[in-house]
Symmetry: C3
Subunit: 209 residues, 3 copies
Amino acid sequence: MDLRQWLIPQDKEFFDLFEEMVGTVVEAANALVELMNDYTDLGAKSQHMKELEHEGDRITHAIYEGLNRTFITPLEPEEISRLATAMDDVIDCIEGTVQQLHNYGIPATDSPMRQFSKLIQLSATEMQTAVKGIRSMKDVQSIEARCIELNRLENVADEVLGHALTELFRGSDPLTIIKLKDVYENLEQATDRCEDVANVLSDIVIRHS
Amino acid sequence: MDLRQWLIPQDKEFFDLFEEMVGTVVEAANALVELMNDYTDLGAKSQHMKELEHEGDRITHAIYEGLNRTFITPLEPEEISRLATAMDDVIDCIEGTVQQLHNYGIPATDSPMRQFSKLIQLSATEMQTAVKGIRSMKDVQSIEARCIELNRLENVADEVLGHALTELFRGSDPLTIIKLKDVYENLEQATDRCEDVANVLSDIVIRHS
Amino acid sequence: MDLRQWLIPQDKEFFDLFEEMVGTVVEAANALVELMNDYTDLGAKSQHMKELEHEGDRITHAIYEGLNRTFITPLEPEEISRLATAMDDVIDCIEGTVQQLHNYGIPATDSPMRQFSKLIQLSATEMQTAVKGIRSMKDVQSIEARCIELNRLENVADEVLGHALTELFRGSDPLTIIKLKDVYENLEQATDRCEDVANVLSDIVIRHS
């Protein structure tokens, strides 16, 4: 077994871990949509989300440990750590919002929350396609198309936020406004974090294609 | 035509795009000051700001595409993408605040808003001088002086925010406080984003001078 | 005196400056805990905090100037500037919260504030051990253990924030809620900034061990 053969599994490992990570992002986004559509058993559902967050942390640590052990990596160490951290931030943001719904005692979900969640789910799916694409780097244009779509979805979320806040301030109960404003802004930030992942992927594509 | 001649236009292209970008930052900052001083036709003015934001996105994409095509760049690919993204973030932040004034139905501008806008305008002008300077890298000290000034302006904005919030909380209408606090904080964040540009420029100067 | 000897002092200088910087972070964290436990003379104490913030700025500038003068550095220039900026951000965040207590006219500290401050102080101490460790890079595992602990402390702060906000929203005065929510979130963010330092340190360890 020569050195190259010995190294290939290591190279592959990162892509396996990235796919595991983006799979967890998709799972968290799906769980969020589900929770928004069926707002019951919040305790159990927020517990499940916390487990997904720990799963994200576990994969991130595995990626960092991989960086310590591997001598030759297909990507720059910094790119690997940036991509892992960016995907982990998406999960943290989704989980944080679910905790917030719980902590704030929000009694029901509403139309903006469901719209944001759908946008987060769409973003997660695009992200998954793009992340799978960097393994072979064969179809760079498709990865870039996914990144542009992630940017577009973030812009849509931004508009949803504008309308939701305008509507919210028509109400008069300050505590409700403070709480819902926070929830809306955090959901919108989840799409910002997805856009951050797109930016890291764009940088990787630029360097390696 | 030798390789070097063929490459020079490519090298130049990035600096042209950076100057176009910082020109858009200056234009957005000027439009913000104008809107603060003449708070009429908010619909048309926020539409104009949205166009400037799209212009920023267009230039950012052109810079990213340039990275895909060019083999030798005067700067590291990562520096180029960081600088483009940082300037784009300034425009996004200015545009976001104007949308907010519109969405929140803020009836009039006030002294803190005008002070922030003036600081953003001053920051944009300093930024423009610094960005123009990285083309030749002849006067590194002048670029660094602009970066220090951008840091100083951000500190001033921070103090304006402190005073504005203290004053704001002397009022008693929670909805007004929530809305204006958001507007002030976003205007202050525009100067943070200008400081981010200064940090990227400092890093570039350190590497290339 | 050969070139190598001439360079060694320069290499050392960065580590001296990093230790000076992390010493200032620890000092700011200690001053925060002290202020939380003895909430008197807020004017004088916030003035002292402002001086620590200026001290942080001074060291950051010294590090940047060092980058301009030194040709061979033990770390990448970008790593050095990232580490300096990340530590400076911790101090800025602590100082900003103290200004906020002052500006908002918060009449007394409370249990969540004291818990956050203690977590920030613990984080600063862990950070100091880790930063001292990168000079020799002899005990990489100990640095990594500190980074993991900084992540853990940030998770604890996150939970403290969740409980504190739940409790806060049980009250009814919107202005108090707006103010305290801001203070709690900023204190929690100080632990986020400590985690950022941990991430930079992890990246440095990965590259250089």
